[in-house]
Amino acid sequence: MRWSVLSLALSGITTNVLAINLFENTAIVRTIEPAGALVHVTTTYAVKVLVENANSYIFALSEDEASKTSKMHVSLKGQSVQLGIKEHGVQDGIARYTTYLPEGMAINATTNVVVERVLTRAARPWPTQASQEEDQFMKYDGELFVLSPYPTNTQRTKVRAPSSRIARYNTPEDVSFQTDSIVTKSGATITYGPFTSIPISANAGFISKHQRPISVQYHYEHAVVEVNNLVRTAEISHWGANLNVENNLVLHNGGPELKGHFSRVKHQMQMYMGQLRSHVLPAVSLNLPPGARDAYFVDLNGNVSTSRFRPVPSVPKSQSARQSSYLELRPRFPLMGGWNYSHTVGWDQPLADVAAYDPTNGTYIVAVPLLTPIATSVVNDLTFKVIMPEGATDVEVFAPYKPLSVEHSTHISYLDTVGRPAVTLEYKYLTDSHTDSVYVKYKLPVVSHFQKPRAVASAFFVLFSLVFVTRRMDFSIRKA
């Protein structure tokens, strides 16, 4: 009897402890900017502190949104400093993250937490097929309510389409917490809400009872560029003081698939009149680092001459680059919806612009950007490989974003004997803003530096020894 009373009392105490919220959301505003391959979502939480000195704020996403989120940046409104994020994984279809606000906030203090996310695979062409003469429309599918483990006073979601040409948007039915209107449209922005007095929503019960889908079909004026498979190789050469970066990629037009056949005549006429539809991709442009030279654009058939390269002079390592070299690539054929084009782009850069040397312990540090992106594109699969000179030891790699896998291997190339150490990183679903550098640190003893000349010299010496031996052999026919 006493035990049951005690356990009842204990459970009462624990539920009371769990029921105390550390924070309350006074307002949540979510702005969704759908585009082509990428969707930008900015959520601003106006947070009120309920318990003194509380600073671990938890925000939640549905499992679907979390799996599509490629980049997340959390900061206080008006500041650009990134706050630390801790992921807690997915439970009951909800992903939770903790972010650490500044310490020492008093009760009823308010602050604004801004969570900026970039989603991939969130917008798709709709209708899924379009002929050469039809326009391109994309559809964004999302959820009406922002989930949160704290109660919310008022919440609103705005979908800002890239142009005011919106074909259709849905009106969710049977919506709770509404005030006056559920959805309003003004220009290119569709506002869902405001909704008031929303309880704790980061649980499966709320999702099944109250969550509703939203969808917006909009006209997209640019081509949807996707890179299905990118193999990026950076090769470091000390003798040539050179960094060679080579990208082998499959370029994919993620717009509506071409309905019917491709008519070259119609295409030429559209180009001449300037009426090329937005789902046709005739060319892509890349911004190469300053100091890039000897750029090459090849595919399986050989060199592709339809390209334009405007190099910019080299900038020393200590200075930040203000200009970039410009490389415009025009594939052999215009990419219609659903078409692919595999090709290779590469260039050389002076090694002094990207490498540092520590004379105290003979360590070299080389910085290679993770991506040289095509604007607004998504990279579905990236294999990033850095090849160090032969004989490099103590290889360490520091990546700006957590890779799916890191692998050390040996790469064999020209004039190699033992092979060059290489590091391979794997990534998935990168956006055009994943451009930070990967740092590779290694040591190269002077003896290894001369490995190649020694190898060639031994080959020459073998030749000389052969001649030495054959000179002393007599092949003349002598009299018996």
């Binding site: 003798w239 003081a241 612009d353 520091f398 190649k452 001649v467």
Partner: protein, 82 residues
Amino acid sequence: MADYETVKHLHQTLPAFAPAVPVSLLPSLASILLITTFGLAFYFTTLSKDTFPAREIGVALTASALGGLGVVALFCTVGVYV
């Protein structure tokens, strides 16, 4: 174990990489070394056959060393940065 920000800061503050031989010198160095290698190889074929081949080995060794460096410089000159 340094972390990303430490390495980034090190990379920005340490002196830039400088090659052992300036890159602009590599084409001329390649031609000089390879012509010398050719000359020494030619001389090697004219040497008499001694019982103790000191001269032959000496010429072979220098020609190989110069040839090794010359071929690496040649590769870098034509754009294959080895």
